[in-house]
């Protein structure tokens, strides 16, 4: 991923190599990867990846769920969290590792999830997309004017 910061829109339209967009297909591609529809992050996937980013080494089912609930104010089911993590794992954005049982009586293994570089790239893309969409407008002011 090459682009950083804010590029003028017409520049983004015609840059080749690392980054181009086809006005016909409206598909944004990175490094020649075919980032088709499935590669864009859904809202919940976005939240989960951000949770992993925050939690770093301590990201497993419960902590991810609690982090989202605490920060985003969104109640989520544990099943939904695991379903999303599995999806992200398939996309290559996340890897899972099962730890050894904890060294306490009755200790159990945990399945920890870690953000991959592809996952990071996806997060960046999503953030940049948001930046581009909000570039040039003062969102709060516009919302107040509604």
């Amino acid at each position: 991923m090459v682009s950083r910061g804010r590029w003028p829109s017409h520049w983004r339209m015609f840059c080749k190599g690392d980054y181009y967009s086809s006005p016909l297909q409206n598909i944004t591609v990175d490094r020649g990867e075919d980032v088709s529809k499935g590669a864009h992050l859904g809202e919940f996937e976005h939240l989960v990846l951000l949770a992993l980013l925050r939690l770093k080494d301590d990201a497993y089912g419960v902590t991810v769920r609690q982090e989202i609930q605490r920060r985003a104010g969104r109640r989520v089911a544990i099943g939904a969290v695991y379903a999303c993590l599995e999806r992200l794992e398939r996309k290559g954005y996340v890897t899972a590792q099962v730890s050894d049982p904890q060294p306490v009586p009755g200790g159990r293994s945990r399945k920890y999830f870690v953000l991959t570089s592809e996952g990071g790239a996806a997060l960046r893309r999503a953030r940049e997309m948001m930046d581009r969409m909000t570039e040039g407008i003062h969102v709060d002011a516009e919302l107040e004017a509604l």
Binding site: G61, V62, R65, I78, G79, A83, E86, K91, R110
Partner: protein
């Protein structure tokens, strides 16, 4: 004790979660649950939170199983797990398979629907007629006690007052013991309006034994059994509504029973009609000193509730020892008298009645068996086609368990859809039966209080669930067998099989046996249904030897208190017959002690010139006491001689008529002039002046016409208890019936009438069984035929289709269509012949036991047997010819390709 997560929610998550994450999900939630408790959030809140997590996690977990949420192009993961892991996939696959074989799927669904629907309907009908339990608390502990005289073949000898007192003193096994009887009574609430109802006579112990509490007032007290103390009455719910409009201040009011005032002390709950269809109850007077004719004392039924802790066996043992003691203590009264203990239900519901309905139920389960056999056959046939496909899938990695589960999923879908249809049919069927029953009862002039309280046709969900459950289980079994067989096949072997169905050419012995069993069962059911249908038809077309059209009747009982002398009664009869002019369109009227089809009483008789050693040697015949116009009213003429005339009255030559059966049996040559007397010694010798046709002097349909004697009512030595006033009139039915009531009312306004009906209504009362059940049996037959034919066609069709490639080879080698059709039919015909042989044999045995149900039809009626055989043979022929011809019309090249 530390709170734990709710087990049900945990189990749900266990089933729903994919195997690879199951442990983690459950442990994560448990950890959070424990955390909530540590934070002091309370066990209830924690459980509620856990349930919320479990329910909210279901859908995302199921979506994972269904393959949703994967990037396009990615294959679904093979994570065979328990429970619902792959159920969604299997169900989707199952639906696809159903649409791939639409004819078979529809056939299975319709078969299941018919089988379940029909069986559950009949189950509910039988349950309505045959109560599982009587509607009394803990009714299994209520026993009926009868005295017996085994040497005379009597097993229902009632208790006299003396017996009751003696047995009460000696028994300790019943906490309450009482005696009862029943009879008709004229009821009115004021001097005037009266109606005739059937009421029960009870001692206090009866209602105590039944443990049914009145909704108002009380039950009888022990002292009310004493002579002169029983001037009270308990009303049934329906009678309370009828006489008092359900007024709550009814207690203490007066009701007249046969003009005797009685005080109302209780109202029983709705539906209480002990012992059968009684509307009111009065205390039974137990007077050991005076209880009827000493030579023939009044006898009553006895019922008791077992004391706590006493078993039926112990009670029987004690009662038998009491009987033995009484035999030795009172040899004059009790020599040879034993005791018989039964459940009250056995006494109230006659054994013949039970046998009939249980036979119906058994027959219905036969229909269900056919349906299950059909489904099994069809599933087996289909599985044999898919052997190759299943084996290939196994070779590609599908586990055996997974293969079996997939096939079971298909069966599950079929069962659920078929079961749903069956449930709907069951509900509709019961409604139809209820409507038919109500219609026939209304046409027969039946009142609500003439139907026992326990006879209700309710939708019993348990019946549906049981039948549906049994059927689904048998389908699962049927589905599992081919699934196990197919999935056990070696892939190479299956793939190698050139002809898709050549290995299954023989269909397997199992399939063939099923077809044979199906044909046999269909044959049996069709024969029983055919015999019943013929009975119904016979009844509809039978030419009764007496007229019912434009004939109307009413019944009354002249109370002895108002008509103590024979002259009083005769005068009433004369005046009543004179009233016939007031009835619109009336042609003729008569009085009698019975009606054709309803029966008359019986008597011993003597023929002049013959000797009889003792009373017991006297032959018996029915005795009808009729006015001279009786035969004209029913459009009957004498076969020989004449009928009664006005001149045949008291004081003139005693005369008699005999029916044809009597003349054939007892009188040789010309019976006119022979003399007969009913009874001995004091009885009058009567001269036979005529012979009349047999007019069913016994209850219609009870089989055969008994020997009968008629005497003029005015010359009868005893008066009848019930008198029938019969009028033939051309006027409108309603007007005639109203006029009959008015005619009687004008002579005695306190005299209630009952059974005020057209004669057709009377006949319908006697034969209601046939219109109500006739249709049901005919439906039996149609359903059995349909299922049998479907089964045959379905399996034959599949078997023939499997041989398509073989047919192609034969046609390519020069075989002609006709020869191929014959080849295919041969197997079908063998199965048909075997099935018919077994079915006919069993039917010959079974039909004999159902003979009592038939009307004018022999249990081995050759037309019915031949008709059923021909019908099944025709169905089998069609089932084999049609698919066989279809295959021979296929293009040879297509056939060789096996497509």
């Amino acid at each position: 004790m530390r709170a734990r997560p709710p087990r049900a929610a945990r189990a749900l998550l266990y089933l729903a979660a994919p195997k690879q994450d199951r442990t983690f999900i459950l442990e994560d939630l448990e950890g959070e649950f424990a955390g909530m408790l540590r934070q002091g959030r309370g066990a209830r809140e924690a459980r509620r939170w856990y349930w919320g997590q479990a329910m909210a996690s279901l859908w995302p977990s199921l979506r994972r199983m269904g393959g949703r949420g994967r990037p396009p192009g990615e294959a679904p993961s093979h994570t065979p797990g328990l429970g619902l892991d792959t159920l969604v996939q299997d169900l989707r696959y199952g639906f696809r398979m159903l649409f791939r074989y639409p004819v078979l799927s529809v056939t299975v669904i319709v078969t299941l629907g018919l089988g379940i629907g029909f069986t559950s309907t009949v189950f509910n009908i039988v349950k309505g007629f045959v109560p599982r339990e009587l509607p009394y608390p803990d009714s299994g502990r209520i026993l009926a006690v009868d005295l017996t005289k085994p040497t005379e073949g009597i097993d229902d000898l009632g208790f006299t007052a003396v017996d009751l007192v003696r047995w009460r003193e000696r028994q300790t096994v019943f906490e309450s013991l009482g005696a009862y009887g029943w009879g008709g009574g004229n009821l009115s609430v004021e001097e005037g309006r009266a109606e005739r109802r059937s009421g029960g006579f009870l001692t206090a112990g009866v209602l105590e034994a039944l443990k049914v509490q009145p909704i108002l007032g009380r039950i009888f007290r022990a002292e009310e059994e004493r002579p002169g103390e029983g001037g009270v009455i308990i009303l049934g719910h329906e009678l309370w509504q009828s006489l008092f409009d359900g007024a709550s201040d009814v207690l203490g009011k007066t009701v007249y029973v046969d003009r005797q005032p009685r005080t109302v002390v209780g109202i029983m709950p709705e539906g209480f009609m002990f012992p059968q269809t009684q509307s009111f109850w009065i205390p039974l007077t137990v007077d050991p000193v005076a209880s009827g004719d000493p030579g023939n004392p009044d006898r009553w039924m006895v019922v008791g509730r077992l004391a706590d802790g006493v078993s039926r066996g112990r009670a029987e043992a004690q009662l038998r020892s009491i009987a033995a003691r009484l035999q030795s203590e009172f040899p004059a009264d009790d020599a040879g008298v034993g005791v018989l203990v039964r459940s009250l239900k056995e006494r109230i519901v006659p054994p013949q009645y039970l046998a009939l309905f249980y036979t119906m139920l058994a027959t219905t389960f036969g229909v269900l068996l056919i349906a299950c056999a059909n489904v099994a056959n069809l599933l087996l046939a289909r599985a044999s086609v898919r052997t190759r496909e299943v084996a290939l899938r196994g070779a590609l990695g599908a586990g055996r368990g997974r293969l079996v589960r997939q096939m079971l999923a298909e069966v599950l879908i079929l069962s659920v859809v078929g079961g749903g249809i069956g449930l709907w049919l069951g509900l509709v069927g019961l409604d139809w039966f209820q409507a038919t029953f109500d219609h026939v009862m209304a046409a027969a002039g039946g009142r609500a209080d003439e139907i026992p309280g326990w006879m209700t046709f309710d939708r019993d969900l348990r019946a549906y669930l049981f039948v549906a459950g049994a059927t689904v289980l048998s389908c699962a079994f049927a589905g599992m067998v081919p699934a196990l067989r197919a999935s056990a096949t070696e892939a190479g072997e299956a793939i190698k099989a050139g002809s898709r169905g050549s290995r299954d050419l023989t269909q397997g012995r199992f399939t063939s046996s099923l077809v044979v069993a199906e044909v046999a069962m269909s044959c049996l059911l069709l024969i029983l249904a055919g015999l019943m249908a013929k009975s119904v038809t016979q009844l509809g077309t039978v030419a009764l030897p007496w007229r019912t059209e434009d004939v109307f009747t009413a019944r009354f009982a002249l109370p002895e208190e108002e008509y103590p002398e024979a002259a009083d009664r005769s005068a009433f009869y004369e005046r009543l017959l004179g009233k016939v002019k007031t009835i619109p369109g009336a042609v003729v009227a008569s009085l009698s002690d019975g009606l054709p089809g309803m029966g008359h009483g019986s008597t011993g008789f003597e023929l002049e010139g013959r000797t009889y050693a003792a009373d017991e040697d006297l032959p018996r015949a029915r005795l009808g006491r009729v006015t001279p116009t009786f035969f004209e009213t029913f459009g009957v003429r004498a076969v020989r001689g004449r009928v009664f005339a006005d001149a045949d009255r008291a004081g003139t030559l005693p005369v008699a008529l005999v029916n044809e059966s009597f003349a054939r049996t007892h009188l040789d040559g010309d019976p006119l002039g022979d003399r007969v007397r009913t009874g001995r010694d004091d009885a009058l010798w009567r001269t036979v002046v005529g012979v009349v046709p047999d007019l069913s002097m016994e209850m219609f349909g009870s089989g055969g016409d008994p020997d009968g004697i008629y005497v003029p009512l005015s010359q009868a030595e005893t008066d009848p208890y019930y008198t029938y006033f019969t009028v033939r009139a051309n006027g409108p039915s309603k007007a005639v019936l109203t006029s009959i009531r008015d005619a009687v009312g004008s002579l005695d306004r306190y005299l209630p009438l009952e059974m005020v009906l057209p004669m057709d209504g009377i006949m319908l009362r006697l034969t209601w069984f046939y219109p109500v059940f006739g249709k049901l049996f005919m439906l039996f037959g149609i359903v059995a035929l349909f299922l049998g034919a479907i089964g045959l066609y379905g399996v034959m069709s599949f078997a023939v289709t499997q041989r398509t490639q073989e047919m192609g080879v034969r046609m390519a080698l020069g075989a002609e269509g006709r020869g191929l059709v014959g080849l295919v039919m041969r197997k079908g015909l063998i199965q048909l012949a075997l099935g018919l042989g077994i079915g006919l044999g069993v039917a010959l045995l079974a039909a004999g036991r159902m003979a009592f149900l038939m009307y004018e039809v022999g249990p081995r009626d050759p037309w019915v047997f031949a008709g059923v055989t021909a019908t099944l043979a025709a169905a089998a022929l069609v089932a084999t010819i049609v698919p066989a011809r279809r295959v021979t019309k296929v293009d040879v090249v297509v056939a060789l390709r096996g497509e």
